[in-house]
């Protein structure tokens, strides 16, 4: 007899139930509190490690800011495009990636998208830790932490999430947001039991039979080629299934998906989903950017599935590859399509989840902006003013350019000779506090427990992001 990995898990769960493991007692039994959540809301958080450069995400046109176009022309010229004015209009996340911009069932068409520009820590020094340690550990100005709980762990306690499955995260960086010594035991138990109940979803026999065999095989072959590994039981094999399922299952929701062709197809990335019957057989040109995209899609599928099928209220994924010091143009050209696909699919599923009684928000955050001018070896360095994207039926209308009027764009060219970084106009805590207050109904006391430090005065103007 051969015992499989899944068999072991099943046996483990049965044994755990029979044995009554003391270490797996849920918090309810530990402290006697009631854990009825204050709302039915759910949050999907995507953390892009590094900076999704706002000046590359929503790029000004050359007509609006010719100085800026000259300063960043080499960054803004993607593969196959040499005309800077075209590049400036084409190579940004929103303008090129039609799934977000043009899809009639997408977030923008439904007035469910908000983009906050020039957001960050007004006192930041362009460090990875400027913003996120404040969220994670409630860092004081002197650098000492106020809490061992991460911000979402504090939210879970304040908002009364179900301790049996309070939250979940995929990826090492965002784990800091969910960390809590008190919640580990319940977390471990819940995640085990969840996977036991849904063990097929990441297995070799996906329950959603949407993958054309040729597509599945091509994705799988590409994964094997990239990783140099083979076999359906390997991690790449699992990722291939998850990637295909994530994208295609989402598109099936709006079947038939209006396959609007992109305005041009100059960008090179591994698998063009719109051409699923004509997949490239060779390894992509940019293996650097190949893994993060796939990794991101697998993570999104895993996390969204948790959100859809359990009492889990908050999930998060973190995706590396955004600290693009060198070769920003090529790296973004490979990464942006994956973000567009992820946002498109997540929005469709969030909308359906909302219709089922769980208003769902997708929050995309990055760490900082990037400098305006190009540095000594052809990239950009850490800036200050960043970008945040918020999607879902909980979002009030579309605002593409918060604080970014034409006057601001004109100033960008001047920044090349000056402070060299887009300034912060909104403290990042403003959005988090608005969300926690509006959607999770935190009162003042609870808010202080979750975010002990308020936004800096002068950078806390209400944005009205959420309905």
């Amino acid at each position: 007899m051969t015992t499989s990995r899944r068999d072991l898990l099943r046996f483990a769960a049965l044994g755990a139930a029979a044995g009554g493991l003391s270490s797996f007692q849920p918090l309810r039994a530990m402290n006697g509190r009631s854990f009825a959540p204050q709302t039915n809301d759910k949050l999907f958080c995507i953390f892009l490690r590094g900076a999704m450069d706002p000046l590359y995400t929503i790029a000004p046109t050359a007509a609006l800011d010719p100085t800026y176009a000259n300063v960043r022309a080499n960054l803004l010229t993607p593969v196959g495009i040499t005309n800077p004015p075209i590049a400036l209009g084409a190579n940004a996340l929103l303008s090129d990636h039609w799934r977000i911009l043009a899809n009639p069932q997408g977030p923008i068409a439904n007035q469910h998208a908000r983009f906050v520009m020039q957001i960050g820590n007004p006192l930041g020094q362009k460090s990875h830790f400027d913003e996120w340690e404040i969220l994670e550990r409630a860092l004081q100005p002197n650098g000492f932490g106020l809490s061992e709980d991460g911000v979402f762990a504090r939210l879970a306690k304040a908002a009364g999430f179900d301790p049996n499955l309070p939250m979940s995260t995929v990826g090492p960086n965002l784990q800091r947001w969910f960390r809590s010594p008190d919640l580990i035991a319940a977390h471990v138990k819940s995640i085990q039991e969840y996977h036991l109940a849904h063990e097929d979803w990441l297995g070799t026999t996906p329950p959603i039979q949407l993958l054309p065999p040729t597509y599945d095989a091509a994705v799988h072959a590409g994964m094997q080629s990239h990783y140099g590994q083979a076999g359906p039981a390997t991690s790449p094999g699992k990722e291939a299934h998850a990637v295909g399922k994530f994208v295609l299952a989402s598109e099936a929701i709006v079947n038939p998906l209006p396959l609007v062709p992109p305005p041009h197809n100059a960008l090179q990335f591994p698998f063009n989903i719109t051409e699923r019957n004509n997949l490239p057989a060779s390894e992509p040109e940019l293996p650097l950017a190949y893994a993060p995209g796939f990794y991101m899609m697998r993570q999104c599928e895993e996390a969204m599935h948790l959100l859809e099928t359990t009492t889990c209220s908050v999930v998060g994924v973190d995706v590396h590859g955004w600290d693009t010091h060198v070769n920003q143009a090529t790296q973004r050209a490979a990464l942006d399509p994956w973000v567009a696909k992820a946002l498109h699919s997540l929005y469709l599923r969030a909308a359906q989840l909302s219709q089922n009684g769980h208003p769902t928000t997708i929050l995309v955050v990055t760490e900082f902006g990037r400098t305006v001018i190009v540095n000594g070896n052809g990239g950009t360095d850490h800036g200050i003013g960043g970008w945040m994207g918020i999607f879902g039926p909980t979002v009030a209308g579309n605002t593409l350019l918060t604080h970014m009027d034409p006057a601001s764009w004109v100033q960008l060219g001047q920044l090349a000779a000056g402070p060299d970084a887009l300034p912060v106009k909104t403290d990042f805590r403003t959005v988090f506090r608005e969300y926690f207050r509006k959607r999770f109904a935190l009162n003042t006391t609870q808010m202080t427990a979750v975010l002990p430090q308020p936004p800096l005065a002068g950078y806390d103007a209400p944005l009205g992001v959420f309905v």
């Binding site: 072991l8 044994g15 979940s168 140099g228 010091h325």
Partner: protein, 575 residues
């Protein structure tokens, strides 16, 4: 509170430990045999099982039966620490040497263009094999510590290499070295850096830091290669300068004062100091290497003032300013504080490393650090201190996935499969996959902060789930260790992982006793079966009443259930 002895005696020199036979294959990479000024405090009293587990959990990648017995002998702990702090005197495991030879490490003797190619799985296997098999365990623990501290990502090296291409096919750098495979070059970069860490793991930090800055993997990963100071134009790339200060040497805030250790001006100046380097194509002894080379025209050579005027760097060439920066950083107080606290976190506990934790120990380590960063001396102070030995800090550190896998292999005295006395690398395939599934992609962790060191950051949902699954893999393969004669695979199949282990239950009656089996498993893993988090009764219940020697199938299911339960205890993730 009574005063505690933190620092062991200093001033005396240990006699140089007798050097054992060393393989010529790795002799050039061995650390020098050092004479320690620090004499570890003789351990007082008997080392019992829990303490021996603790010592070996921290100083090695996991206890083995032999090491447990050695440490428990009279003065065994002190002797073991002395030996491990002088790794050059320890004869290396011949099985490890066999694996290195099979993989053609460390890339000697065969030019890239014609030699056997090395791929990512090869160097991952080598890294796991060193951790599992090396007799120089403390040196390997520190090698892993520096590898993670100065993390680089294999995948992010390829673009730089590919950019050298002008011909086709694009995956070869034909312009410089016809026929050279990109992944092979990536492996060379990563593995030579790993060997550098192995060489200097217990040497001095100043040398290690300089070698690190000019290691091809780091130069490419954080953009020192090609970084230029363009007069009247672009400023140098700040990527490495920022991480050098923030992650590698001092951290943003001082752990005691809470003051910022540096500001943006310091980053700008350090970036200028580190400008003017390129990885140049070169032929060295017939090998096509990429070596660091100064580009005078790209260096900002003026004098600089750093850290509020406390450090002055004189005008000079790129190499001169680099040497000065490295020397000044090594002796800088915030650097000593930051790195000594990180070592305390690694070897003692997270709580011991923060302000107000074990500040006296940190202070003693900082003094011993000196101006060059005497790592063996600092570790001698640390690992023979009372905080290191304190029972309150046992089972407080969360293992990394690599540590979990190696611990499981070593705790059961596992041996890799051999054919005609040659180690079969297949033994490491399943463990390697388990490490990756738990979220630690060796040589491919993307961000420069490396796999999290803080315990609470190592526990996430996906890591937890995969840890349990990996535990199932490991214990399915280790079933023969529990019960003599048990064999979970058809004999025609290739065993997946370490099948040849010593059985600990040798009679049918013992094997059929769930309580005894549970006790044996847990005692072996944790040196105890009676703590609140290690409950042998739960495992015994899971094992059930079907432990009949004649019923292998049933026994297999029950055993699998029981061992998976045992591995699900929280202590399975802790050390």
């Amino acid at each position: 509170m009574p005063a505690r002895t933190i620092a062991p005696g200093r001033g005396a020199c240990l006699s140089v430990l007798a050097a054992g036979l060393m393989s010529s294959a790795i002799a050039q990479t061995l650390p020098p045999i050092v004479a320690l000024a620090c004499v570890p405090v003789s351990h007082m009293g008997t080392v019992d099982d829990p303490e021996a587990h603790h010592v070996l959990n921290r100083l090695t990648f996991g206890p083995t039966s032999d090491l447990l017995a050695a440490v428990k002998a009279t003065n065994g702990y002190t002797q073991f620490l002395q030996q491990q702090l002088a790794p050059g005197g320890i004869t290396e495991n011949h099985q490890l040497l066999s694996i290195r030879a099979q993989i053609n490490l460390p890339f000697t003797g065969i030019p890239w263009s014609t030699g056997p190619l090395v791929d990512l799985d090869d160097i991952r296997l080598a890294r796991l094999a060193h951790a599992t098999l090396s007799h120089r365990q403390l040196n390997e623990v520190m090698t892993e510590f520096w590898e993670n501290h100065f993390n680089t990502d294999f995948h992010q090296l390829s673009l730089w290499i590919t950019q050298k291409v002008t011909g086709t096919p694009p995956q070869y750098i034909n312009t410089y070295y016809p026929g050279t495979n990109t992944q092979h070059v990536q492996c060379w970069m990563e593995w030579t850096q790993n060997e550098m860490f192995r060489t200097h793991a217990l040497g001095n930090f100043q040398t290690l830091l300089r070698e690190l800055i000019l290691s091809p993997a780091m130069m490419v990963y954080l953009n020192t290669a090609g970084n230029a100071c363009v007069t009247g134009g672009a400023q140098p790339n700040e990527n490495f300068a920022r991480e050098l200060l923030e992650l590698y040497t001092m951290g943003k805030y001082h752990a005691v004062t809470g003051l910022a250790n540096y500001d943006q001006n310091d980053i700008d100046k350090v970036a200028e100091i580190l400008s003017g380097w390129e990885l140049a194509k070169d032929l060295v002894n017939g090998y096509p290497l990429v070596n660091p080379q100064e580009i005078a025209s790209g260096h900002c050579g003026g004098a600089k003032t750093l850290f509020g005027g406390t450090v002055l760097i004189a005008a000079g060439t790129a190499a001169q300013q680099l040497d000065e920066l490295v020397a000044d950083l090594t002796a800088h107080e915030p650097v000593r504080d930051f790195l000594c606290r990180k070592l305390v976190r690694q070897f003692v506990a997270d709580a011991a490393a923060v302000r107000g934790g074990e500040d006296d120990l940190v202070s003693a380590m900082k003094t011993t650090w000196g101006t060059q960063g005497n790592l063996a001396e600092v570790l001698c102070i640390l690992c023979s201190s009372q905080p290191f030995q304190a029972a309150t800090y046992r089972w407080q550190r969360v293992r990394s996935p690599l540590e979990r896998v190696t611990w499981n292999a070593r705790i059961w005295d596992s041996k890799p499969t051999t054919t005609n006395n040659v180690v079969d690398p297949i033994s490491f395939q399943q463990p390697l996959e388990d490490v990756a599934d738990m979220g630690q992609a060796l040589f491919a962790y993307m961000t420069p902060d490396g796999f999290p060191l803080a315990s609470v950051e190592r526990l996430g949902s996906s890591t937890t789930l995969e840890g349990v699954i990996a535990g199932g893999d490991i214990y399915r393969s280790l079933a023969p260790a529990i019960r003599y004669g048990f064999w979970p695979w058809p004999f025609s199949q290739t065993p997946e992982f370490y099948p040849y282990v010593t059985s600990v239950l040798t009679t049918a009656a013992d094997q059929a006793n769930p309580t005894l089996v549970a006790h044996t498993i847990l005692k072996r893993l944790y040196a105890t079966d009676g703590t609140p988090s290690v409950d042998s009764a739960a495992v015994a219940t899971a094992l059930g009443n079907n432990l009949q020697p004649s019923d292998l199938a049933s026994y297999g299911s029950d055993l699998a259930r029981g061992i998976a339960i045992a591995f699900s205890f929280r202590n399975a993730t802790l050390k």
